[in-house]
Structure formats: structure tokens, C-alpha cells
């Protein structure tokens, strides 16, 4: 069989081939969310003053609150991005 006789059937069959390329990029996370939460601060051993203990405890509360805000922001980020992603039909 000559190659030329194969061209027409090949062309006819090739019309059924369709390449669809729609790419969606994974959403970028704000850099502020990717920094890890810090360890809690420890009180220096030998400390006898209550004020120094309270100061460290208050600092640790601050670190917790920072981390809480970050975790809540992560959840908010996920919900928002999921809604946007689900909106694509």
C-alpha cells in the first residue's frame, strides 16, 4: 500500500484528535503565612521576681496571639481559594 493512499484516512481520523490545554496555577500563599510560629519564651532559672515572670508570660501570650491570627488567616485563605477554585466550571 502506497503512503499516499494512507493520507486521506489519516487526515480524516486526525480531525478527531483535540488537544485542550487550560492550565490553572496553584494559588500563591502570602509570605507572611509561611513563617513558622516561634517557640514560647522560657523564664531564666533563678528568677525570684514576680514581675519578670509576668513579663515572660505576657510575651508568650503575645506569641500565642500572633500564631492564632496566622492559623485563622490560613483557614480564611483556604476557604477563599477553595470558593474561587470551585467557581470555575
Amino acid at each position: 500500500m502506497k503512503l499516499s493512499t494512507l493520507i486521506l484516512p489519516f487526515v480524516l481520523v486526525a480531525t478527531g484528535c483535540t488537544t485542550v490545554a487550560v492550565k490553572i496555577n496553584f494559588p500563591q500563599v502570602p509570605a507572611e503565612l509561611t513563617t513558622p510560629c516561634q517557640d514560647l519564651q522560657l523564664i531564666e532559672s533563678g528568677t525570684k521576681k514576680l514581675s519578670q515572670v509576668v513579663a515572660v508570660v505576657a510575651k508568650n501570650y503575645e506569641q500565642y496571639q500572633e500564631c492564632q491570627v496566622k492559623v485563622n488567616a490560613w483557614a480564611h485563605w483556604y476557604d477563599t481559594q477553595k470558593k474561587i477554585f470551585d467557581g470555575i466550571k
Binding site: 483535540t18 490553572i24 502570602p30 508570660v57 470555575i88
Partner: protein, 148 residues
């Protein structure tokens, strides 16, 4: 080779194959008349078959072109949706970043006030309470440190 054929087929307007089929049908159904036209006389026996092939190929490729056009329309629509989604995603990120910065600023500012207040009240606190070293050890343990 394949891509040249595909590209050529995509370049043709959708109506081309329909016109091709109509011409094929005309040749097929009026083959007796066409065969009588002087330039086609030597090819009289091929005219009807040729017209039939043109009709079939035209109908098939017209359908294929229609499907391709529909696919392309859907792809364009999807690309537009993706572009809108990516913009919404960036806007949402900006909003989250602003919210995070504002909340963190409030926490820092409150901490400055708290530390100043502790410093101010330290004399009062330290006058009435002496901390036993075991209390420090226990607190550090709770904070994730090791008990010494």
C-alpha cells in the same frame, strides 16, 4: 507532517467543509449533466464517485470542524474563567495580607502597653511575692522547655 495537516485544517473556516460537501452533492446528483461538460468527458466515470467522496468527506470534516470550533469556544471561555479566578486569588491574598498585618500590629501595640504596665507595677508585685524556683521550672516545662 501531522501538525502541518492539523494546522492547515484549523486554518480553514468552518463553512469551507460545508461548501465542499454542497459542491460534492451537486456533482454527485448532477453527475450526468457534469459528465457531459467537455473538460469532464474523459473523466465521466469518476465524476459520480468523486462527487460522492467529496460529499462524504465534506460532511465528515464539516462535523469535525464544528466540534473543534465548539471546543475552542469552551477552551477560550475556560481560559477567561481561569484568568478571572487568578485575579480574584491575588486580590484575596492581598486582603488576607492586609488583615494579618493589621491584627499583628494591634498585638504588638498591646504588648508594648502591657510590658510598660508590668514595669510600672513591678515594685508592687515584687514586694508581695517571691517566686520559688520550682514554679519557674514548672512554667518553663509548660512552655515546652526541659525541667532542669
Amino acid at each position: 507532517m501531522t501538525w502541518i495537516i492539523e494546522h492547515t485544517l484549523l486554518l480553514l473556516p468552518t463553512g469551507f467543509w460545508f461548501a465542499f460537501a454542497v459542491i460534492g452533492a451537486t456533482i454527485y446528483f448532477f453527475s450526468d449533466f457534469v459528465s457531459a461538460i467537455p473538460p469532464f468527458v474523459p473523466y465521466a466515470k469518476f465524476v459520480k464517485a468523486g462527487g460522492g467522496i467529496m460529499l462524504l468527506a465534506g460532511v465528515y470534516l464539516s462535523g469535525g470542524a464544528g466540534i473543534t470550533a465548539e471546543w475552542q469556544r469552551q477552551v477560550t471561555e475556560m481560559q477567561q474563567q481561569v484568568a478571572i479566578a487568578e485575579k480574584s486569588s491575588k486580590d484575596a491574598n492581598e486582603l488576607i495580607r492586609t488583615m494579618l498585618q493589621e491584627k499583628t500590629k494591634v498585638i504588638y501595640e498591646r504588648q508594648i502597653i502591657v510590658q510598660e504596665k508590668i514595669a510600672k507595677d513591678s515594685e508592687k508585685m515584687d514586694a508581695v511575692c517571691q517566686i520559688d524556683p520550682v514554679a519557674i521550672e514548672d512554667l518553663n516545662l509548660a512552655a515546652g522547655g526541659k525541667k532542669k
